[in-house]
Symmetry: C2
Amino acid sequence: MNAPTSAAGLLPQIHLREVPQALLDALVARFNGRCSRAQAVREQHGRDESSFSVPPPAAVVFAESTADVADAVRLAAQHRVPVIPFGVGSSLEGHLLAVQGGISLDVSRMAAVLAIDADDLTVTVQPGVTRKQLNEAIRHTGLFFPIDPGADASLGGMAATRASGTNAVRYGTMRENVLALEVVTAAGEVIRTGTRARKSSAGYDLTRLMVGSEGTLGVITEITLRVYPLPEAVMAAVCSFPDIAAAVRTTIGVIQLGVPVARCELLDGQTVAMVNRHSGTALREEPMLLMEFHGSPAGVREQVEAVQALATDHGGNAFEWAATPEERTRLWTARHNAYFAGVQSRPGCRAITTDTCVPISRLADCLLESVAEADASGIPYFLVGHVGDGNFHFGYLIDPASADERARAEGLNHRLVARALEMGGTCTGEHGVGLHKMGFLLSETGPGAVAMMRAVKQALDPLNILNPGKIFIA
Amino acid sequence: MNAPTSAAGLLPQIHLREVPQALLDALVARFNGRCSRAQAVREQHGRDESSFSVPPPAAVVFAESTADVADAVRLAAQHRVPVIPFGVGSSLEGHLLAVQGGISLDVSRMAAVLAIDADDLTVTVQPGVTRKQLNEAIRHTGLFFPIDPGADASLGGMAATRASGTNAVRYGTMRENVLALEVVTAAGEVIRTGTRARKSSAGYDLTRLMVGSEGTLGVITEITLRVYPLPEAVMAAVCSFPDIAAAVRTTIGVIQLGVPVARCELLDGQTVAMVNRHSGTALREEPMLLMEFHGSPAGVREQVEAVQALATDHGGNAFEWAATPEERTRLWTARHNAYFAGVQSRPGCRAITTDTCVPISRLADCLLESVAEADASGIPYFLVGHVGDGNFHFGYLIDPASADERARAEGLNHRLVARALEMGGTCTGEHGVGLHKMGFLLSETGPGAVAMMRAVKQALDPLNILNPGKIFIA
């Protein structure tokens, strides 16, 4: 049942369902100018950062409220037409592609911060709010929201893919930080999951069932998130190492010691060079850990001493500090742009991005074998990692016109995932399954678990209209 | 659809299904002496710490392996007979009661620690391992497992009820600490969910769907858990306050400041007195916070100073310290036995235990109104709280023979839950829904979300054989 696309790197299976004129008429009647059939709008909503090419959706509806979402889904359900939720379009795994046709439901205009409950360390937002917009909105409260995928993604999209980023090693992922949701079901009904209480044993964990369901079980229309007091002291440091192994072994030591490092990112030497060219930084072009420490002044000092000692043991240099908040921001912006720095390093290329995550004790083995394999392939790549979590990304930079390069890159990805799974890891740490990893999901979790996912999908979306053809073939 | 039992405090609805002799014969053929029909064994498996009385299951099967569990479930499925997983019997909400008849599946003999991956800070256990057994087994590694409900519960039961305890404020609950599961489905198939990687975006979060599903979606047969390095420094302190409000307001300040306190427990004065009598402690019989601080020596010192300053602002006394590990253990054992201390304080009584959890800013309002109401009722009670989470428990100590006392206690519980829900909280922070809170779950989450839970249940257990009649009526 699993699509051969994922393992073999072929194009996705496309089975366009008919979108009847009656539905398009009904959407225009309901949404007027907020339902667009313009080619440019459809094309913009029919792609993401993945390297697939699929015909665009038949129309795009711009929702401005939960009622809009519910009405759009209800109309689509009446005509059994797929609905694909759309935030900012930064998916890497083909989540947004209309492989079964249908309409794109753009929630980017649902961009209100609905509540800031600073005393409870919670906020409630609409799904189109991006992570940067949220942090702007709460800056005056002394709180921050830590989860930061590379893109300035929408929080709805981040919940839907169970996203994380550089701070997950300390603060967790969307799995740990979504407290409650409002969701429009496949029947167009509005439900609420969870509460603002920090913990609950009240029935099935529908919140976490929706988080990571990639738009296939419901459309997220409100999100209640945990936020955190800005730490009293923040220090960011760069540490260069003679080789990748030394940087990774330092990281393993940090995690095993329980040092509460806030960020611990790996870049290999050639990726640092790409970042320097893209962002105008002057970082030493060697394997590097880019770290941040949060806490009280004394606590941060202790963490720094512990990590510097470990790094020195592994041949790392003395830490270089980002002394001011501005320098720190510049450094992390450069890190967040590593993906774009990589893509820019080979004009006209597309990146095939990998996303494995392994138990920390296996990180060095998994990473080093994969580096050797990538080097031997001759395909240019960048390498970054949220290594404190055991999570890392290769971006294989391929000529999209070259079937050979694509096949070789997919081969590298395939062997990397197989290696990670053998080591007790996962095929995706934070990007999701989408189109690209359906076969890998099956390898990882086995047919029994995928059958259980399929049963849940069929129970909650019997017409298979919510982002069909993603995660598994329903 | 919701049972009137929960809201009104009536006895549970009992609809015994037939257990055919052919099933009993097949179970005996498969399990020999490990299938018991002895009255005493059945009765022991037909009750828990809840105050309900229901006929016992028709038989008890003692499973010793995943294959045993799978075979027992398959045989039960062939005859459409309910199966109720049983760990140590410490449920408080009637989870174990055979309200639709059937067989009890005792997994307490599945008590092996299967793997200790100290380098990855993970362990894998069978479901019958208790939290204390796990901590014994990993003591030599310098790691510990923090989640500690009052009882020495089985880890399978703790996963099934999404349990937490005193350390959740720092380390999270079973929701955050279960990484992976092996589960026997309603069809008797064995599936695996999750991996040992710290994070994953690989498909639906079946792990967290199973955690908190109270045995209604599958029988947990293996659990992979996060464990933590023992902190370098641990300090436990008691702080007495002039009134409950002062203790609660101190707690709110601690959380809002982001002090990473490891434990922050409230006991009211009369509960301290019960604990003193039960455990031979000599604690000051006033409202008290019982706290623990984990970290480096300097970090612990900073936390202590911050919390002592807040406590002093609210009229709290100077901290009294549990100076040695032995004193600390004695103090926490006394706290863990508060439930039994309470029950012992009124000979022959049963406790009707409440379990609300509210956003931290509402904790004082919720708790103080509930104390006033309990005082006015004349029903004796104990009061303890994991107040750092916004979670607290009254135990109303009723004469089980008095319908009037039961009704009044249920009335108190009913008003307390209504208050917590109005404040954005949940009807159960850690005990689960079971039989007792089905009506409350409906009030909390609404019919749409319960309908979604029911759809998931029907998809995964179409014959409704897995612990039927719990959480909601399927």
